[in-house]
Amino acid sequence: MGILTPRRNQMLLTAWAGFFVNYLDRTKTAALLPLIVASLAMTKEQTGWVLFAFFIGYAAVQPIAGFVTDLVGARKTLAVSVAAFSVFTWTMAMVNSWEELLIRNAIFGVAQGFELTAGCRLVATWFPVRTRGRAFAFHQTAYTLGPVIVPFIAVPLAQALGSWRWSFMIIAFFGLPVLAAIDRFVIDRPERDPKISQEELDYIFGAEEMANKQGTVLNPTKAHSQDELPPGERLVSYREIFLNRSVFLMFVAGFFNLIFLWGMATWLPTYGVRQLKLPLLWAGSLSSILYLGSFFGVVAGGILSDKFFGTMRTPVWLLGGLLTAGAIVWAISFQPGVALWEAYLCFFVVGFFTSWTPIGQLYAPYFAELLTPGAVGRAVGVVNLGSQVGSAVAQPLTAMLIIQTATGQQFWPAFVMFAVFGVLTSACVAGTIEPKVGRPYLAYLLSGKKAKTAVGTSAGQAL
């Protein structure tokens, strides 16, 4: 049996492809920005507004996307999102002015916003607890590979064809194979898939769960008893989803998390040129090294959570925020003349541990285990709203903290802020409930590893 024979793996690869094309599509605008700015004669402020518009569209739609995913189904939500951003990509190639680009970039952000919640919901529903961390880690590698690969696709296309507009026209086609794969491989729930084997269903849900749960009410907030629900789901109320201490702390952690993640990723090339005095090519490669570190970090974090921590998710996040902060403190000391290998190693380590933070990975498995897979879309939508607000403010906040000295720009105040936010992210995680032990992980350790109520059944989780 090949690795792509199980239906869950076919679904996962399709969700990965959707997320990868999503990231390829959104980061191509940044890669082509110098050409777009020259073509539309945009000022620095106008460029900032155009980029900001994407995040506003993306952030604003997150809670709605979560609801749509859970209520309409992940398959349809994913398809509509991929279809919409594919079409809006080519319409963006036709803009006449920066105002048009701003509006279309905001709509493009809205279209892209529906993809993530659907992908999360699918992975949470199709994989059992014991492999969910690694499956979601694979899904998350898409966001680390997209930004590394896009300069090698978008820029050569623009150079070869004479205009940035052609890159948009051609990349718009990348969504079509994904749509075909969604049509063929993605089904909302395993037990509704006519092609799945009984053996695979037993692997996903367990034979006993499959035998006992035959319900058809797919919205866990609408069912009246566990019997009405399909396998793998449990009853949850809206109060348990939205007035939940852990969901709230994840919202705040996501805000801090994406400020340092996005602030670091977008400002690194400028930091390399202005502070380290590196040639543009080497400075630009610092971002690629960061994402390369994230790629390995995502994979390692998923394995660590599933294998070493026995499917606990929060220990990885606790380590992630603190170790990221430590690696950023190392970077603060870098000045012109720093060995390139040392800078590369440092930012690889930053990227590696940044991916161990709550928005880097494991959040879909976490919500599936804290709540139920049927509520993952709504929980991810709420938490990702906080994260995207963090993304939106990351760039201006970082810009404000860069100081001008006699020898050039210094980034250490921004790096100190990133490190503080790394620690704050871990502080938020320290208060979240670890579903497997029914209490915060540190409290579990301090109590001599005494677990509380079973996974996701504690009414005390509500605020």
């Binding site: 398809a79 509509v80 594919s86 080519w90 205009s163 089904i187 009410v217 069912a223 009246h224």
Partner: protein, 80 residues
Amino acid sequence: MFVTQRQAWLVEKKGTRMTFISIVASVMAGLVVNTARADFGNSWNLVLALDVINTVFVVFYLWRILREKSGPVQPKRKEL
């Protein structure tokens, strides 16, 4: 008011899915009309052809996927 009446007529006659697709098609047509045609020079016909091909495939797959009645089952009002 006219737009609302028109949408209500569409929903009644053609169903929600066709209304959605027709609204999207109208918006897309509007976006294509307002384009930076000059920037594409002699390749404008190729651009239009690519746009049409892309949109036809997108609409085809959307139609296939959205027509299914496989969405979540909700309990009926009477059962509540």
